[in-house]
């Protein structure tokens, strides 16, 4: 798509794109190039000498059990966040699409967590679940569950998943609701006249028609779990106990900022860049498909 009518000027368009391009070069391209450059280097403990080591940093990473473990943790974490985030919001959106009365009020009351910063969401849930007998811990103890996410890896994972899902539900909910409202009523009415139950109608008509939205949300939720949940993790478990909740992004931060391993951290950044590129391509494939519909 191109404009038929254009303006002509030798310098104006360059002046107009200049601010954005300048910021992009200084804060995006220059650091990205540096990340690639550092990833081929080894720095001594005092940061005085650097040495070109080729792909050694990468080789070391893939031999490092901790790093591979972090991959597994990230996969598990993002799968749980995406699955529960999508399932719960689909349920709520389906119900909100059905009700006539109060639909607007439900919507307003369900979307506000979008406005909560991931780190704050983490603090709220960590407070509720605090091992030193806070409210949820107290109730759980009543059921005979000994809750202590500070030492139990599975419970720590559960906590960060709950906090991350809670924050993301509103986003998924809005997209599902929009998707549901765009399904032609005539299709559902036709099925109802043929005697299909609401349950059957959902699985044979509504759910398949929602699949583009679901796929889109799957990609968005995975991206969310990979990157934006940094705040949730840093504010609650900080990757612990041990490495039970150390997702890849947290490890880049931990190794680079706290352990000051520039080469290793940069190599991890480069690997993450490839993951982002793959996810972005997946997202755009989806958009292309939608356009063809």
């Amino acid at each position: 798509m191109e404009k038929r009518v254009v303006f002509r000027s030798a310098w104006l368009p360059y002046a107009l794109v200049a601010p954005q391009i300048a910021i992009t070069i200084v804060f995006f391209f220059w650091p990205a190039v540096q990340a690639v450059w550092y990833s081929f280097q080894l720095q001594d403990a005092f940061g005085l000498k650097t040495q070109f080591v080729g792909l050694q940093n990468f080789a070391a990473l893939f031999k490092d059990g901790n790093y591979l473990e972090s991959f597994k943790t990230t996969a598990l974490f993002s799968a749980l966040v995406a699955f529960f985030g999508i399932a719960i919001s689909l349920l709520l959106a389906t119900m909100a699409d059905r009700v006539l009365r109060g639909a607007m009020a439900y919507k307003t009351l369900l979307i506000w967590p979008y406005a909560v910063a991931p780190a704050v969401a983490g603090v709220l849930w960590a407070f509720l679940f605090a091992p030193s007998i806070r409210i949820v811990t107290y109730v759980l103890r009543g059921f005979g569950v000994d809750w202590n996410w500070i030492i139990d890896p599975d419970q720590a994972m559960l906590l960060v998943v709950i906090a991350s899902v809670w924050k993301q539900i509103s986003y998924n909910f809005l997209f599902f609701l929009a998707g549901l409202q765009s399904i032609p009523r005539s299709l559902i009415e036709a099925a109802a006249i043929d005697g299909a139950s609401p349950f059957r109608r959902f699985w044979t008509i509504v759910f398949p028609l929602l699949s583009p939205t679901t796929f889109f949300l799957l990609v968005v939720n995975i991206v969310y779990a990979f990157f934006e949940t940094f705040g949730v993790i840093d504010a609650t478990t900080q990757g612990g106990p041990g490495q039970a909740t150390q997702i890849l992004v947290y490890k880049v931060y931990h190794d680079g900022v706290k352990a000051a391993d520039l080469g290793g951290s940069s190599a991890q950044s480069v690997i993450l860049m490839f993951i982002v590129i793959a996810l972005t391509v997946a997202q755009f494939r989806f958009i292309e498909r939608k356009v063809q519909y």
């Binding site: 038929r4 009518v5 910021i23 109060g102 506000w112 967590p113 991931p118 940094f230 590129i277």
Partner: protein
């Protein structure tokens, strides 16, 4: 409604009410905790009805902060958050709208090159280039400055795309008419294009306000000075070590203050918010 099934309607309401309650539960407990003394909160079980320390707690955090963790006052944190939440959307809108204008309404040799350059930034989120970006900021002497907090975050491919997409839908006749009337490109931009873009800008502003307010990793890296903390960072800094050492009543009061502005923006400007959310993802 396709058919009338009272039971299913009842079930729908039940599920929704349960959903709303579960979603609101952490907020409720946070609010309750912010109205009690620390001694009341650490009791088992914690009280679930509001206490009488509401004004006292909020006054304490706004003027003085906590005593065990960070001592920065929350009033200054709220100010810093407001600066970020306003400068980022305004800066983003300003630079994106002009670069989209150049890319759509001009033909120049490097056009596609610039377009792709902006596009590629989608693939480089802050989280991926933490250390090198930090170094660039440090080299430029922008640590602990408002410029350092905001400028690196205002370049955005999504905003540029949004405006580009919108400009594509503006009828060519308008530009033609403007040209026939002897208007130059900037005149057309100010008098025709910008007024038409108002709704797109409003939607983008709401989304980016929340984005700016909720920034975490970036301010965490580049602010070491307490006076530059944003509210979200402040909460994190108030939590020190073990659970018992924290003044949870004050931390929770700060959490409420940190959530209030963006939540109000989302709920009161719902129409723009939904529009912005759906359009920035297209």
């Amino acid at each position: 409604m396709v058919e009338n099934r009272p039971f299913i309607t009842f079930l729908s309401h039940a599920v929704l009410i349960l959903g709303v309650l579960i979603v609101a539960f952490p907020l409720y407990v946070t609010f309750i905790a912010s109205t009690h003394t620390l001694e009341a909160i650490v009791q088992v079980p914690m009280p679930l009805l509001p206490g009488d320390q509401l004004i006292e707690n909020y006054r304490q955090v706004l003027t003085a902060g906590t005593t065990t963790g960070s001592r920065a006052s929350v009033a200054s944190m709220l100010f810093n958050s407001t600066v970020m939440a306003l400068a980022i959307p305004l800066g983003k809108i300003a630079i994106s709208v002009i670069s989209a204008f150049a890319i759509v309404y001009f033909r120049f040799p490097a056009r596609m090159f610039f377009f792709w350059m902006i596009f590629v930034t989608l693939m480089l989120p802050v989280e991926v280039r933490i250390i090198p970006t930090f170094k660039v900021i440090a080299d430029l002497g922008m640590l602990n400055t408002y410029a350092g907090l905001t400028v690196p975050l205002i370049a955005s491919a999504t905003a540029t795309f949004l405006f580009r997409q919108f400009f594509m839908t503006v009828p060519d006749e308008l530009a033609e008419a403007a040209r026939v009337d002897g208007a130059g490109p900037m005149r057309f931009f100010w008098d025709v294009l910008l007024p038409l873009s108002k709704t797109t800008m409003a939607a983008l502003f709401v989304i980016q306000f929340i984005y700016g307010w909720n920034q975490y990793l970036w301010p965490l890296l580049i602010t070491t000075d307490e006076s530059m903390y944003t509210t979200v960072i402040g909460i994190k800094r108030m939590i020190v070590g073990s659970d018992a050492a924290n003044e949870w009543n004050l931390i929770m009061a700060t959490a409420i203050l940190a959530m209030l502005p963006p939540a109000l923006v989302v709920m009161l400007m719902q129409r723009w918010f939904v529009k912005g959310l759906v359009e920035t993802e297209k």
